[in-house]
Symmetry: C2
Subunit: 428 residues, 2 copies
């Protein structure tokens, strides 16, 4: 096919008619598919079912050190689970605090604590006139919701194929004392699927923040969530790089097993410098007596070690790959050469990010919905839900089956074409 | 025995000598007992072990409504668990949000949210010059730690056998706009074991707060934690009373199964008005995608309903009663008539509260420690850890065995006598 923009008005009108007919047919099928959230599919959840047998009424409920996981204690998590999460996060055990079921909750608490109590002794952010965060875009809507909730001003930073625009990051961080943080998903980024290059990680570690309480919020949500065995992304260890650069306290790393074991019933962790951990624990000990240690033990008994986690993630990959490939195939089949959209083929993570022609994303998502396919709301991948180009659409292929994904992707590309044809016709 | 104060100096000196000899003997025994925290005993934890079999890899993991508990969703808890917690808390399901493993964490989050976002639209507390909380004393140290952490000024309110001094509560709440809350453990209070009378509850419900964002923090931690079958305390339903009094939003009720199933691996809940819940959820939806629903389902499958919970608590009571009675017997045997201490015989909860002669609590706790018995730090039951009378000591009899409790209580009364004799001698 030739690019739509090179078509004549007559060609476009003819195409519009064909597409409308196809759309009516599609609507008649009564599709009911949800590609809006990164929810694991049912067969993925089934993979972790045996974990529910890892602990039963006759299990030894003590930790290696002999602590009873059934009782109060071990505020920073049981030792063996700290080791497990540390290995997964490529850090040392002492740098890890294992928390509850949600890394998002740790991030929220981290911001909330900074608002009321500052960072390691700095002025509480709620006492400042202005607090700003950098937001590589497109990014994760739930990150942006946290900073929005606390009235933190968000600044868009373009995200390229090797990471955020570091010139811009350096400019802001190194000159503006109001810039207190940046949201990062460094590996298999949500939603574009890209991973940060070594150079980008090093430039992060070597920032010279104007604010002493500037922190990098490094949400390594997809650290072992590869799609392929042979081509896997690896990123540099940010904690080590920050230490080397003389910025040991500058980064908080977050991760969880939400998309390894069970969303909502996994374990989460924060990894950071010992100084940061001390400050965090001075708050955490007021907030709770401790997290769910039985569930921590359950995870350790089931996964055993990093190799166990990795073997488990291979099974996830086998289930996810066909879904990603179904979408990518349809995108290529249907849109190749039309020049009305672009996308990146991710090697891991949970999303495919699609960039439509400017001003088309909302209309595409609305059209999909009318035919029974729910996408993440257009704009959600930007702070305040506002995509200045109205272009980015996040596709979450994990929940439906590969067959359903094909149908959904077909409908999606149909909607992309319809909206793009209309857009081009408008300007003629 | 006659009151120590009526003894002659010679009698006291002779007694001192005998006591010192006994203390040396006790030290030689090498006791190692912990009565510092309200930790359930091992046999109590064993009671809930079958819960770990309630869900396994072949269980139906769906809720009554068909939602998969293994996946994201149900922010306010799965329906059946909301029903269970509502029944336990004597409220309606719609008034309940089931959260994570810790009611303390909900209380912390509630204060934290009020600091940054106010209450249902009021000015964030962090923007105010002064925020005050009323603290019935003696009370729960972890409550006081939360308000202390947020820089909230705490005001001591005497706690009597029927509840807090309500004249004082009314005076402060109805006249001072800076008073934003009060900590209450209305049933089997921590640490005195008393329960609020109907009149006290009604006076709470009929407060006319000067501050629109004043809230009662009603920590009903021991709502079904009776020690006896025949003599059980019942308290009026504060949510209903507040509604009747035209103050529907004035109370937050907290509870958990930490001392029913497993501390750290239970479920917690907040119960309050629908308007309050709406405001809370507007924050909670930013903080987390949801709590551990598999654990919620596990609790429902094991306890089934309120009757199941109550039957389970009878088994707890059978284990706890001998421990409480061991302490109370020793207190009577050793201290009756000496007029150097007073205590209340609780009908439920986790603690016995002992009031020593003024200025003696710290010395008693220190003396116990030197002989291997760890008590809650003296002063811990007061804001800022400061008991103005240095008199109150919290005894937590739940963790040791009844035999150990007898030994520990003997040592405790020995220390009480030694310190009291010294105190009286000092003034002679």
């Amino acid at each position: 096919m030739k690019p739509l923009k090179e078509m004549t008005k007559e060609e476009l009108l003819a195409m519009k008619e064909t597409l409308s007919a196809e759309y009516k047919e599609a609507q008649a099928k009564g599709l009911k598919l949800d590609m809006s959230r990164g929810k694991p599919g049912i067969s993925q959840l089934d993979l972790s079912l045996p974990m529910l047998d890892a602990i039963n009424s006759s299990s030894d409920m003590r930790t290696v050190l002999g602590n009873d996981t059934r009782n109060y204690g071990d505020l920073d998590g049981i030792g063996e689970c700290r080791y497990l999460m540390a290995d997964m996060m490529s850090v040392k055990k002492d740098n890890v605090v294992v928390c509850g079921n949600s890394s998002l909750n740790i991030m929220y608490d981290t911001i909330s604590r900074s608002m009321t109590h500052g960072v390691n002794g700095s002025t509480p952010w709620c006492k400042l006139d202005k607090v700003k965060f950098l937001c590589p875009v497109p990014g994760y809507d739930r990150h942006f919701k946290i900073t929005e909730y606390f009235g933190i001003e968000m600044i868009n930073i373009p995200l390229y194929e090797d990471g955020p625009d570091m010139d811009m990051v350096e400019k802001y961080v190194n000159s503006d004392e109001a810039v207190k943080g940046i949201w990062c998903v460094p590996k298999y980024s949500n939603p574009t699927g890209i991973s940060y290059s070594d150079e980008v990680v090093r430039r992060f570690a070597n920032l010279k923040p104007a604010a002493e309480d500037f922190r990098i919020f490094w949400d390594n949500a997809y650290c072992i969530h590869h799609l392929y065995e042979d081509t896997q992304d690896e990123i540099l260890n940010i904690l080590e790089e920050c230490e080397k650069a003389g910025n040991p306290n500058m980064v908080y790393i977050f991760a969880s097993t939400s998309k390894i074991s069970f969303p909502g019933s996994g374990v989460s962790a924060i990894a950071t410098s010992l100084e940061n951990i001390e400050f965090i624990k001075s708050q955490m000990t007021v907030q709770t007596i401790g997290h769910d240690k039985i569930n921590q033990l359950r995870h350790v008994k089931f996964f055993k070690n990093l190799e166990g986690l990795q073997a488990h993630m291979k099974k996830h990959a086998d289930l996810m790959r066909p879904k990603f490939e179904a979408v990518l195939e349809v995108l290529e089949e249907e849109l190749e050469g039309l020049e009305i959209g672009s996308w990146i083929k991710p090697r891991g993570g949970y999303f495919i990010s699609f960039n439509a022609m400017e001003g088309c994303a909302k209309a595409i998502v609305a059209k999909c919905k009318e035919a029974g396919v729910v996408m993440t709301g257009a704009g959600a991948t930007y702070p305040y839900g506002k995509d200045p180009q109205d272009s980015n659409i996040r596709i979450a292929p994990s929940f439906p089956t590969p067959e359903e994904m094909r149908d959904a992707a077909k409908l999606f590309t149909l909607c992309v074409k319809m909206v793009s044809v209309d857009k081009i016709l408008e300007t003629m």
